[in-house]
């Protein structure tokens, strides 16, 4: 279902096997002894005899790490056994395990970059496993020369590196009804992740095929079981769209579209087609299911907005947030992330009294266009009940709205693009709960 234990990209296997020869037999033994050969094959796949030499089962925590030889070198690193970070599957009991989403553990992360194995997932028909040697990106339609590209062709084209967030259009949708008392930053807002993406700007592809100037739209199509399709305006393609090949320094993982995916900075995640196999240029939208039945916004008057692309400015406090707690009154740091699909975050304000007063938070590091920025705010808690909120402003001057303001305009049937101010209720016992729900 997820990518972590699937076959590695072919490009990595030579390095892996080199290390494997010297070190891996202990790993064979440990894995097999721990879980049996069948488990071993199922986990790492029969086509890949290479294996990490260290598994979670190998970890021993000595009483004094200065008096015991440490653990071996390993091919792939592990997290500390004291760090428990994982995605949350929306509905683990859903009969269609391949269709659904997993939330990124926002409350456990700091900074802005999301580790690739913790990037949120939203798949409509599962994770496609693709052999890059068999994969082609075909570009056709209103072009002078229809072309097909291999992964290695794209590697040879000029590339760029950018740090962008990707956010599911449905992220935070629990905010419209309000969610549950025990909802968390992860379960409400965890469908946003930030990565360094390296790949080929779409404008180079456009030049290479000789786009007909009359073309205004392009269909992007994935090579998954949903053969996912979305229409994208050519204007966006020429501005900043990327065919991404790398994520956070490694080839994109299968769950994020290996071997290549579309990145549309700041726009809803569904459009950023994973496992990209085809681009067809035309002069009208293609009206796919995902821009008619889904990803349209139903208004109180019965009409529906279509092609609502940008993810607007938003912020959320990730620490402290529900599931965590404060041990008592005193000095704490309020931490969170803010982002805007229309540009750069200019300002984040924090309120601890339910929005009566606001103070500017400090932005850590560079605030980049269409990326997340981390904010910190030192706070002295007096031990009384408090309502923690954050409010983002981007460089267009747009200020993150309240939930009430969104509901008033959009009504109860609106599903996507929720970006209202989140409030966390801090109780005198130091626990937190979803502030949308009455205490």
């Amino acid at each position: 279902m997820s990518d972590e234990h699937g076959p590695e990209p072919a490009r990595n296997e030579s390095e892996q096997s080199e290390v494997h020869r010297g070190l891996s037999r202990r790993g064979f033994l440990a894995s097999a002894a721990a879980a049996g050969g069948a488990y071993f094959l199922g986990r790492f796949g029969p086509a890949s005899a290479q294996t990490p030499t260290i598994s979670e089962d190998d970890i021993v925590v000595p009483d004094d790490p200065t008096k015991t030889l440490g653990m071996s070198l390993s091919q792939r690193g592990l997290r500390s056994p004291f760090v428990h970070v994982q995605r949350q599957i929306n509905d683990p009991n859903a009969p269609l395990g391949a269709a659904g989403w997993t939330f990124s553990p926002l409350q456990d992360l700091e900074g802005t970059i999301t580790p690739a194995d913790l990037h949120f997932e939203r798949h409509h028909s599962g994770v496609a496993m693709i052999d890059p040697a068999e994969h082609r990106l075909v570009v056709h339609g209103m072009v002078q020369q229809p072309k097909q590209y291999t992964l290695w062709d794209l590697e040879r084209m000029p590339q760029e590196s950018h740090i962008y967030f990707v956010e599911c259009s449905g992220n935070s949708l629990a905010g419209y009804p309000g969610g549950d008392a025990d909802s968390t930053a992860q379960s409400i807002h965890g469908l946003v992740s930030t990565s360094e993406w390296v790949g080929v700007p779409m404008r180079h592809i456009v030049e290479d095929v000789g786009l007909d100037p009359a073309s205004t739209w392009a269909l992007f199509e994935g090579s998954d079981a949903a053969v996912m399709t979305r229409s994208v305006p050519v204007e966006k393609l020429m501005e900043d769209a990327l065919i991404a090949l790398y994520q956070n320094g490694e080839p994109i993982r299968p769950a994020q579209g290996y071997p290549m995916r579309l990145i549309l900075p700041g726009w809803e995640g569904n459009m950023q087609i994973k496992w990209l196999r085809r681009i067809e240029f035309g002069d009208a939208p293609f009206y796919t299911k995902e821009e008619t039945r889904h990803y349209t916004d139903r208004l109180p008057d019965g009409r529906s907005r279509q092609f609502t692309y940008a993810m607007e400015a938003k912020s959320v406090i990730t620490r402290p947030s529900p599931g965590q707690g404060l041990a008592g009154a005193g000095r704490w740091t309020i931490s969170g992330i803010a982002w805007s699909g229309r540009g750069r975050i200019e300002r984040v304000e924090v309120s601890t009294d339910g929005g009566s007063t606001w103070e500017d938070a400090a932005l850590l590091g560079e605030s980049r266009t269409r990326s997340t920025v981390r904010f910190h705010h030192p706070w002295e808690w007096d031990g009384e009940e408090a309502m923690l909120m954050s409010r983002a402003t981007d460089d267009t001057g747009y200020v993150q709205p309240t939930r009430e303001a969104l509901l008033e305009v959009r009504g109860p049937d609106y599903t996507y693009h929720y970006n209202g101010i989140q409030s966390w209720r801090l109780h005198p016992d130091g626990t937190l709960s979803n502030g949308y729900v009455d205490a």
Partner: protein, 242 residues
């Protein structure tokens, strides 16, 4: 010596795999087999264990480099073992290549294939391929969403069904052909897709029971909710909250 080691190592690793399938009792033997061709020199066997395409025995030079395009090729290894060339980037896509992938069907009917389907035939297609997820009559839903049983145009309080919400019949055809059935995507024939679209639209009262859908008749279907959509590009509808 060096060039022979790779294939031997491969045999060894195959052996390991089979023995592991045999269970833990044989596992120790596998380790012996693996040890047997190591000889304390792990590096020489490394290249053989790489991904496809597997180099032939003769294709390896003394350095253990996989057979490649030759000395004129770019010397820094390109990622993976895929095709490399110093010439044109990409190649022209033939009509056949495009036709094999170009399955989209758009409003107006462009892309609709030959063939046809009736409502009666669609009833069988639905029962066989769709009912297990969407319910016996398509009004129930289940593993998959409810599909039919609500009149359009949609308004607050109404269920989202094909008839109440989808603006184009062409999209129904496109989607079913590309992505359904969920557990057997792309398994329906073009005729079966026409038929099941006809059955769904007839269940919604959008077409009569005796209508046969094909590339000519399907684009004539007018969906009840079509006028309810309005585009927020290039002129945007948001920000909608000050």
């Amino acid at each position: 010596m060096t060039s022979r080691r790779g294939p031997l190592a491969d045999t060894g690793s195959q052996l390991v795999r089979w023995l592991m399938l045999g269970g833990l009792a044989l596992f120790a033997l596998a380790l012996v087999a693996c040890d047997g061709d190591d000889d304390g020199d792990g590096t020489a066997t490394a290249t053989q264990a790489t991904a496809s395409p597997t180099p032939t025995e003769d294709g390896e030079d003394p350095e253990g480099t996989p057979a490649g395009p030759g000395p004129e090729a770019f010397t820094t290894p390109a990622p993976g073992e895929g095709p490399r060339s110093g010439g044109e980037i990409g190649e022209p896509a033939s009509e056949d290549v495009i036709a094999a992938l170009d399955i989209d069907v758009v409003p107006g009917g462009a892309g609709l294939p030959d063939g046809s389907g009736t409502v009666a035939a669609g009833s069988d297609v639905y029962a066989t391929n769709c009912a297990r997820c969407h319910g016996a009559t398509g009004t129930e839903g289940g593993i998959g969403p409810r599909l039919v049983g609500e009149e359009g145009p949609w308004e607050p309080g109404k269920a989202i069904t094909i008839g109440s919400y989808w603006p184009y019949a062409e999209t129904v055809y496109d989607y079913i052909r590309r992505a359904m059935p969920f557990d057997a995507p792309g398994s329906l024939s073009d005729d079966e897709v026409y038929a099941v679209v006809a059955w769904l639209l007839a269940e919604e009262g959008i077409i009569e029971d005796d209508v046969e859908l094909n590339a000519e008749t399907l684009p004539q279907v007018r969906m009840p909710n079509r006028e309810s959509f309005f585009a927020c590009w290039p002129e945007e509808c948001r920000p909608d909250v000050p």
